[in-house]
């Protein structure tokens, strides 16, 4: 049974009244004087003339006009055939634009995002007047393209502007965005259009129903999932390239070409077995900053191009600059046993302007510029409202053994004579809100905390090691070594990893400097460094080279790479398990849109109009 989306237009049926009235009033019949009405009266009195069909025939023009008006009013009432059991009045449409959505089905074919766009476009084209759509695109984060609207033009413009982002998808972000919408507009159903390339389980609690429409599988894919380097002796770098193939990909031979600053320095072919993840190692000699790029090529079909190239920035080879005041002899002693670093202050060498690692026991030492700082017995300024230190013996209750800083460090038998005490009613969330992560916990407060701010790392020991038994334990030199390793990593001296798409890695430039960033796909953005010269949070939605111009002669280049095994695998889930034990299965069938019938009625009205015209103009006495 057809339904009507503009039932209010039914009042137009009232036009039938004036139509009938005017039909009879307007019948200004032409007067025809005849000798006698006798015969015509007999004709009109004939039963055959007064038969129902004959009456109908005599007023056929009126009936045609009534039929025409009825058809037009019915068309104005926007009838449609309901093709779904239920239809939401407001429907948020979550469109996956993660990297895997760019995968093609066949060589030169259409991407999965194209397929999603096609489905949404069909929905927009057949959008009934009483239904509003809201388009939400999500990849690593979600953004609302339109509010709830019935404006087809607005929806089409937003849909056409949609492009794939070379980042991994995060379904939770999209669901959270939809959940946020429920606070302003009520709806009970969400349409999810995705290839299903996200985790099958999520902790999200569904406040609405989900119609998960999974798009058709893409073709086979080969890509680079990891690209990093580790410094090797002799001024060299060991460069590692991890390859992977999609789950459905057949065994194929691929070739990886390595470029350094635009010059090909190595090439290797490898067979990627089905389900295998071969790793290639290149040895690169470079003690100066360099830009590496790995490019994968295959002779067969490769459905996703974004994961075929990865970029890596190598830093210059130099010893790690560490500042450790003489007041911390235990640390200096531990540092002297480590290779590849220079400990300042020293008599034979002037201190550099900035250090890679600073051990600070005083506020003055803490002020020294460095990427990595380790404070001993100092409470960071922003934690002073949360923590106070008392002189009281204590021990560690627990510590994060898996943390790189506390790896192989035993704190169980260490006695601390400083007791950090957290303020009343201060919970762990308060530290987390300030960006701190608690590494070791005492009975009344944290003992060791860590905070990463951009490319700066702060390790705060809230107790002084000189007032503890830690320097006398085997774990102390290990802890110092772990701090040095963290500093090496933070400075990029020991290893380098390719930057991933999503957000560019933090950069340190001159403070307060305007920076113009350009990137692939017409990306352009203007930013300004903070008072510490930090530039953070620069989005990198597409894989490729990003150029940063800050007014100096030499622009800086940063390569952003997809490097997502999940996206490269093109793995799909057929159902999603939510936190409330709810499982939503994916459907691959194209949903049937409601079929609008107004145009059929309009065509029928046009035909009736033609018939009426013919009837009105036909030759007399033909019928």
């Amino acid at each position: 049974m057809p339904s009507f989306s503009a039932l209010s237009a039914a009042w137009l049926f009232l036009l039938l009244i004036p139509l009938v009235v005017f039909y009879f009033l307007k019948l200004k019949r032409s007067r025809h004087t005849i000798p006698s009405l006798v015969l015509w009266r007999q004709v009109l009195a004939d039963q055959r003339v007064n038969a129902p069909f004959q009456k109908f025939k005599r007023n056929l023009l009126l009936l045609l006009q009534i039929l025409l008006l009825t058809l037009l009013v019915l068309a104005a009432m926007q009838p449609f055939l309901r093709r779904e059991a239920s239809r939401a009045e407001r429907l948020p449409v979550l469109i996956d634009i993660s990297a895997s959505m760019a995968a093609l089905d066949t060589p030169g074919g259409s991407s999965r995002l194209d397929a999603a766009k096609k489905r949404v476009r069909e929905m927009i084209d057949t959008l009934p007047p009483d239904q509003d759509l809201a388009l939400i695109a999500f990849a690593k984060s979600a953004r609302r393209l339109t509010g709830f609207t019935n404006n087809q033009r607005e929806l089409r413009l937003a849909l056409d502007a949609l492009a794939v982002e070379d980042v991994a998808g995060d379904l939770d972000e999209a669901l959270r965005m939809a959940q946020a919408l429920t606070r302003t507009v009520a709806f009970d159903k969400v349409l999810l259009l995705s290839d299903g390339n996200f985790p099958a389980k999520t902790n999200f609690e569904l406040p609405f129903k989900i119609d998960f429409q999974r798009l058709a599988d893409a073709g086979q894919n080969y890509g680079i999932t990891a690209f990093n380097a580790r410094r090797a002796p002799g001024g060299k770098w060991d460069v590692f390239v991890q390859l992977a193939a999609s789950a459905e990909a057949e065994t194929a031979s691929v070739s990886v070409e390595l470029e350094m600053d635009g010059r090909v320095i190595g090439s290797e072919s490898v067979t990627v077995p089905k389900g295998g993840t071969p790793r290639l190692v290149f040895s690169v000699a470079s003690d100066q900053p360099a830009q590496l790029r790995a490019h994968l090529t295959t002779t067969g079909f490769d459905s996703l191009a974004a994961d075929n190239t990865a970029s890596l920035t190598l830093s210059a080879a130099r010893p790690l600059a560490v500042f450790c005041p003489p007041a911390l002899p235990a640390y200096r002693h531990a540092l002297e046993s480590l290779d590849g670093l220079t400990v300042f202050p020293r008599d034979d060498l002037a201190s550099p302007a900035a250090f890679d690692l600073v051990f600070a026991a005083t506020v003055d030492d803490l002020a020294r510029p460095a990427r990595t700082r380790c404070t001993i017995g100092l409470v960071p300024e922003d934690l002073k409202t949360l923590i106070s230190v008392k002189s009281e013996n204590t021990s560690a209750l627990d510590w994060r053994r898996e943390s790189p800083l506390l790896q192989h460090v035993q704190l169980g038998d260490v006695v601390f004579m400083d007791l950090p005490v957290a303020a009343a009613d201060v919970k762990e969330e308060a530290f987390a809100n300030l960006g701190y992560e608690i590494l070791a916990q005492g009975p009344r407060g944290p003992l060791i905390v860590e905070r990463t701010d951009g490319d700066a790392l702060l390790i705060a020991l809230l107790f002084h090691t000189d007032r503890s038994t830690l320097p006398y334990r085997v774990g102390f030199p290990i802890f110092v070594s772990n701090v040095v390793q963290a500093a090496l990593k933070q400075s990029g001296l020991a290893e380098a990893a390719a930057a991933r798409t999503g957000v560019l890695p933090p950069l340190t430039l001159a403070p307060g400097r305007a920076v113009h960033i350009t990137g692939p796909g017409g990306f352009a953005r203007d930013e300004r460094t903070d008072d510490r010269g930090q530039l953070t949070g620069i989005p990198a939605p597409r894989a490729g080279d990003y150029t940063l111009t800050d007014g100096t002669a030499t622009p800086r280049h940063i390569g952003a790479s997809l490097l997502s095994p999940a996206e490269t695998s093109l793995a799909t889930v057929t159902q999603i398990e939510f936190a409330d034990q709810l499982t939503v299965a994916a459907t691959t069938a194209v949903p049937k849109a409601d079929r609008s019938l107004w145009w059929l009625l309009a065509c029928a009205g046009f035909v009736v109009l033609l018939v009426e015209w013919w009837w009105f103009q036909r030759r007399p006495g033909v019928a």
Partner: protein
């Protein structure tokens, strides 16, 4: 040689000459007692033998057939046709309905032709107009009265709204004499013609009814939604899709003709329906001769 002037505008001189060879063929012998050229059914004094009858005392012995008496010795009297005078009443419908499409003009021409037939046959001819103001030509006879007949018919003023049956009734109040009543009308008054025809029949007049219809009545060219207005009663009738009703119209028109014909035949009369577009000579010398109206 100069052509003779037209005697009347109603008929050509040639038609008048041709009419001299025709006479009205009345089926019944409604005649006047006065002597005329029309043969009466009863025995008369003409030379045309009719029958024998037994002799009765007092009969004129000159009419006894002596040859028969000599053979069988019984007296029989010979009877002869009596030539009596027949009254031809020509009634022309002059109502408004006859003003359409030359119906009244044809009616006058036919009235003139039939009146001439009567006058030439030494019948008594009278004429009257029905439907409007009373116009009447008193009975006249003889060829010398043709002028009076023509003048009367030419001067008839058409127009009127009186139904023909009322006109006939009015005519019969002043009419005396038996014979033939030629009624020229469209017979579309809608009134009771049965009564009018019966009155004519009772008055000793054989009804010769000529229905004259215009081409627009025989084949109406109407379509769509119309308002028909009666020219006499001024009543109106709204018709939708008139074109669709033409078939029924023709059925009823033919039925009306059949009814008129039956009315006439039941009263030993004749009926003829003609078109106003038909020439008068075609009707008189063609149709009427074929149908035995004139011989």
């Amino acid at each position: 040689m100069a052509e003779a002037p037209q005697i009347t505008t109603l008929l050509s001189n040639r038609d008048l000459d041709r009419l001299a060879r025709l006479r009205l063929n009345a089926a019944r012998r409604f005649t006047n007692r006065s002597r005329g050229e029309h043969l009466a059914a009863k025995g008369g004094t003409s030379t045309e033998f009719c029958d024998f009858r037994d002799y009765s005392p007092g009969d004129d012995v000159r009419f006894v057939d002596w040859n028969i008496f000599a053979r069988i010795e019984r007296a029989y009297v010979k009877q002869f046709h009596q030539e009596e005078e027949m009254h031809v009443a020509v009634l022309v419908d002059a109502s408004n309905s006859m003003l359409f499409e030359g119906k009244f003009d044809l009616a006058c021409r036919l009235a003139a032709a039939l009146g001439v037939l009567g006058l030439r046959a030494q019948e008594k001819v009278s004429a009257g107009a029905l439907g409007g103001a009373a116009q009447r030509l008193r009975p006249c006879t003889g060829r010398m009265s043709m002028g009076k007949l023509f003048v009367f018919l030419e001067s008839l003023a058409p127009g009127g709204e009186t139904p023909i049956e009322q006109g006939i009734e009015g005519f019969l109040r002043q009419h005396r004499g038996r014979g033939v009543a030629v009624v020229l009308s469209d017979f579309l008054s809608g009134g009771d013609l049965r009564r009018a025809f019966s009155q004519l029949h009772s008055a000793g007049l054989e009804v010769f009814a000529v229905q004259i219809l215009g081409p627009g009545e025989l084949a109406p060219d109407v379509t769509g939604d119309l308002r028909f207005v009666d020219c006499e009663t001024h009543g109106h009738l709204d018709i939708s899709s008139a074109g669709d009703l033409l078939g029924l119209y023709h059925e009823y028109r033919l039925a009306h003709e059949a009814e008129l014909s039956a009315l006439c035949q039941q009263r030993s009369g004749k009926f003829l329906s003609v078109s106003a577009a038909e020439p008068v000579e075609e009707i008189v010398f063609g149709t009427m001769r074929r149908k035995g109206w004139v011989v």
